[in-house]
Symmetry: C2
Subunit: 426 residues, 2 copies
């Protein structure tokens, strides 16, 4: 089963927006066993749309179109598709009723433009879009399926999840495919595949393991896919193999599905009924920002100080003047005192600290740009580590944030192994 | 002059990465007057590549291809293109010399795989890629130009800027087009175009004004483009119109080109030789994160406290217990005391504060989710404002960050006008 995606949008062709819709759809289709072999972006024009569909029909079983629908456009897409499939347009009452329902939520009534938006090709299967005013359309011809959806990401995702994917599964009798994703950080794809090579060799025919690295986040997702008939059997296979992988990788695995590193840390702190404080210098608030993206974090997160100025390191965190004078702000001694000061002055069980030269300027021969000290601890022990990163300020901030959060997670798990952390930077 | 972009990459077709290359190229091409009317992503396969080029040649003057080059691939792209254009492959010494130079920077020697990577189609114009091992290729046939570049964004951008765009300008004798971009925040596209309608009507034929909104950042870029022969004349036209726009929009304009809001704030603080402190609650460190993304910010940024817990608002910022008891943490009185406390305790000239219910939980009937107070001030006066945002935690954090930074900028400019700030949220 193969698909082509057609994105309609002048904003994409002038580079004003990036085509994230196509990436999302491709991943969803891939997960249900539909192979995307072309993604094409075209202009919002009658002929361009008809040509693109005709071209796609030569090669694909499924053609998914997004964009070019909406009240402010002339609905070029809808008319082009109606003409292409030889269908008449007519007022479609369920579509207008849906628009009325959406407007009623804001105590308003749709005006006449929306009557035109509710005109649909007669003979197409109309998919009501409960989160927007443009309905989706499903066309069938010569065993091929062509679907048109609005380009607003939230509306496209709604129609894909609720209508298009279930219909494709039914229409093409595609096999059932279930997935389970494990999230890892701390090692790259190559190292992970080395650790898992034996397991991979022993996987049953119907189970596949995919490595999905995200270098910006310093994470690799491991996606197990099981293909077959009986959902319960597949789920059991996935669960068993996920357990095996977790045993092999240990604390390299930090979560499942769409969990974030901050959420994993939040769960660990909640389980310990413990609190967290943060003392940042070079990361400038980014660690606190990530921790506070998690709803309900006020249960365990008390506060953070960003002590860019040395006076504040002394005043708010109680770092000793003699430490700063003797070792400098970017030193093991300073981050250790920052952690202990945060525990005491913020009044928390655990704290993390960062201090470094994020760059691009400010380096010295003995402390070049990218020299960063991190520390994690409780009142009894503090783990410190020196990182030697690059010259890109933004990347240094992001990478230090990920590393310090992962170090905190492993500290909470009582699993700090310096070698493994070092290899992260490999 | 029109172009097609062909992106080669299985990672894009399975949705693992988003095609940001195509968006960047489309914007660059658009700026030099080349119209992109199709972007297509295909698999890394011999036939797929030849078919895509043949298809593109029917409709486009320029075909730009990225991806499918590199030492770990079989160089399918290179061979497919050589075959398509009827060219032989041969070892290309300048390409191998470039690879050697790149390796020498790390004290290493390239192995034999790189001799294969240095094989190039004879008759194509080879463009040396000084930032990577895969050379670019320029093919000409029947007045059309086909270019192949590596898919690594940094390498593609290098070749586009240094080789492809200048060559296209020369080859097609395209007119000179200069640009100047003004950055605005505080009003949407519709309001801005209302303020600029008279100016737009009076623009000379060769000057165009484009509105480029970024809703995530709450900003609209205004891009002036001048097309003609004489660079000096065009530059003068751009400068004059940029001044006119800035006069009409006043402080809605915060910068030019690629400047960020944080950089504008940094410049203002440097000019005043003043310092900044931050006291965040609901934004959780994100304001400090943005301020500290600017290199050299330690000249004016002293520090920040994220006081999630009320005890810390009292302890570190000196917010009065009676204030918290009487008005609550999310109140005008609290953010005002946070600003004054930050000025005193961080020891700075200016401070900003945020406190609100970021969501999705934690709302009350009188303070629903999305209720956020911000404050900006110096020791003499504090400006406060209540925002009523939505239910999306991440968006609330980002939007509050933008608004509080823009409010700070306008406070520093002595230009706070409550109506204008209110309309931002319109």
């Amino acid at each position: 089963m193969n698909a082509h995606i057609i994105s309609i949008g002048d904003e994409i062709l002038i580079g004003q927006i990036v085509n994230t819709n196509a990436a999302w759809m491709a991943e969803e289709l891939n997960q249900v066993g539909v192979h995307v072999d072309q993604i094409v972006t075209i202009a919002d024009g009658h002929e361009a749309i008809k040509d693109a569909v005709a071209q796609a029909e030569k090669e694909a079983d499924i053609i998914l179109i997004t964009g070019g629908l909406g009240p402010t456009k002339d609905d070029i897409t809808k008319k082009a598709l109606a003409e292409y499939f030889g269908l008449e347009m007519a007022y479609h009452e369920p579509s207008f009723n849906n628009i009325q329902t959406l407007f009623a939520q804001f105590g308003r009534e749709p005006d006449d433009r929306y009557k035109i938006q509710a005109e649909m090709p007669v003979g197409a299967d109309i998919m009501i879009n409960k989160v927007g005013t443009a309905s989706g359309m499903w066309f069938q011809k010569n065993g091929k399926v062509t679907v048109s959806m609005p380009g607003v990401p939230r509306e496209m995702k709604y129609l894909m999840s609720k209508e298009v994917l279930p219909r494709l599964h039914e229409h093409f009798s595609t096999p059932t495919i279930l997935h389970k994703t494990l999230l890892t950080t701390g090692k790259g794809e190559t190292d992970l595949s080395g650790l898992l090579s034996e397991l991979e060799d022993g996987l049953p025919e119907n189970i596949k393991l995919a490595y999905l690295p995200n270098t910006l986040k310093g994470q690799v997702r491991l996606r197990l896919s099981a293909r077959g008939e009986d959902e319960a059997v597949l789920q059991k296979q996935l669960d068993e193999n996920a357990i095996k992988i977790t045993k092999l990788l240990g604390t390299l695995v930090f979560g499942e599905g769409k969990q974030t590193l901050s959420e994993s840390i939040g769960l660990l702190l909640k389980n310990k009924n413990a609190t967290l404080g943060i003392a940042e210098s070079c990361t400038g608030g980014n660690v606190a920002h990530h921790i506070t993206l998690v709803p309900g974090c006020s249960d365990y997160f008390k506060g953070s100080v960003v002590t860019y100025a040395n006076e504040l390191k002394m005043k708010i965190l109680g770092v000793k003047k003699s430490t700063l004078d003797e070792y400098g702000a970017v030193s093991e001694q300073t981050v250790k005192e920052m952690v202990l000061g945060a525990i005491q002055n913020i009044g928390v069980d655990y704290a993390v600290a960062t201090s470094g030269i994020a760059g691009p300027g400010g380096g010295h021969p003995d402390k070049p740009v990218g020299t960063i000290w991190i520390a994690v601890g409780d009142k009894d022990k503090v783990f410190t580590k020196k990182l030697q990163l690059g010259k890109d300020r933004e990347r240094n901030i992001q990478l230090t944030t990920t590393i310090v959060m992962n170090t905190l997670r492993r500290f909470l798990l009582d699993d700090l192994d310096v070698d493994k952390i070092t290899s992260y930077l490999g």
